[in-house]
Symmetry: C2
Subunit: 252 residues, 2 copies
């Protein structure tokens, strides 16, 4: 049985807690958070603390805090030579204080408060300095996912950048679609089956094979019609840039 303490009480901590609790091979023995408020969403059966000095002994400590807090928080931990990992996509392993053994436990997914997550298919990207810590993190990852992979901090930075494109920027494409439809009092629901199918296609086709539309086939007339519709829109520039990028990609 792996014992762990969660340091933080936000979305990642909450979803990890639920996933670990569903496994029989790992137990969260305590959740720490600076403020009491955020701890309220955790069940009363789990031990909670707001005091660093009351943190219990465990096999590993998982920092699930905002990126900027990771380094100084890890410095403030009142113990040493323990395995301390963080869950961030964009912070290097070296950001963790030298007084403990460092590691990464990065679930590559987007987490929202009110949306349940099935961890079994989520890539868990792990990294550690010591071989025995890698073994423990692999074991821990496998309790919740079938996809545990060793990823260096450099690779993880590139992965996180890619995630910004496919997640944050794709979601913003949905935002633009929604904004454009609301201008004509049309429901965003009309686009939902298309959004779903766009994502589904990627299971069987490469993005290059799945690419369609006026930019790909250099359909100048349709592009001009779209730019005319966008003439007073803040999104006209983006349409032009994206159309150009797709054209460049598919004529090379």
């Amino acid at each position: 049985m792996i014992t762990t303490v969660l340091l933080g009480a936000g979305n990642v901590a909450t979803h990890l807690y639920k996933a670990f609790e569903a496994s029989s091979q790992v137990t969260v023995i305590q959740v720490y958070n600076r403020s009491e408020k955020a701890l309220e969403s955790f069940p009363s059966s789990i031990e909670k603390t707001t005091s660093l000095t009351h943190i219990k002994e465990a096999d590993l400590y998982i920092i699930a805090l905002v990126d900027d807090a990771i380094s100084s928080f890890s410095e403030s931990l009142p113990f040493s030579n323990k395995l301390v990992v963080h869950t961030s996509g964009s912070v290097a392993m070296e950001a963790i204080s030298d007084k403990n053994r460092k590691g990464i436990f990065y679930p590559l997914q987007t987490f929202s408060k009110n949306s349940d997550v099935d961890f079994s298919e989520i890539p868990i990207c792990i990294e550690a300095e010591k071989i025995e810590d890698m073994v423990l993190l692999t074991k821990l990852g496998r309790t919740i996912s079938t996809k545990v992979q060793e990823i260096s901090s450099k690779e993880r930075a590139q992965l996180h950048l890619s995630a910004v494109f496919v997640n944050n920027f794709s979601n913003f494409m949905y935002q633009i679609g929604s904004d454009l439809l609301s201008k004509k009092s049309l429901s965003f629901d009309l686009l939902k089956p298309l959004i779903k199918e766009t994502a589904n296609k990627i299971e069987t086709l490469t993005p290059s094979e799945a690419q369609t539309g006026p930019a790909k086939r250099n359909d100048v007339k349709t592009i001009e019609n779209h730019l005319h519709l966008l003439k007073d829109s803040p999104y006209k520039g983006l349409y032009e840039e994206l159309t150009k990028a797709i054209r460049d990609k598919h004529t090379n």
Copy 2:
């Protein structure tokens, strides 16, 4: 029983054919295409022709051709006063020749050769000049989908523009993610669960609620790290534009 003739043999015609054949209230009595080759993918049980003069009598004729061909093709049809509709998102109803009754039957979805489509949730956007034609198109739409909606040519143009953002441009975000990962020899499979969840979130959250990431929270340090990683990439400009657009949207 509604009888229809399909004019064209591409992706839209193929998927519409399959959907109609699964319904007991509509029958495709013939498929026309200029070249014999594309007709081969249709089963031998269906009557096929490459000759305009051999097109049979039906309740309606569905032009499923590339946008540019619709107008002149509709002009070349050797009959008049029949209901002739097209399936394009971006071509106005007026593009159809005046000698026949005009209409639109636009399924708002992306169609690929090797990817089966469940029409039941796909919005079917219909338009016609005459009330009796609207009734027929509504009836036809309902044989394959629960979501049949009257949409004017102007609304359809905006819908198609929105579809370019959520489909073509989102897919290009996947392309960028794939390109960035291949630079570090990382598998695109790592991003697939994230892509799926990004699209799934839209079922329960608005795009604005679902938006996360460094641009939304104005995380300057992470943005700078990403721009550094992109310094020799053709996608640096897009990252900057999209980050700015998200920031503008979420600070207003």
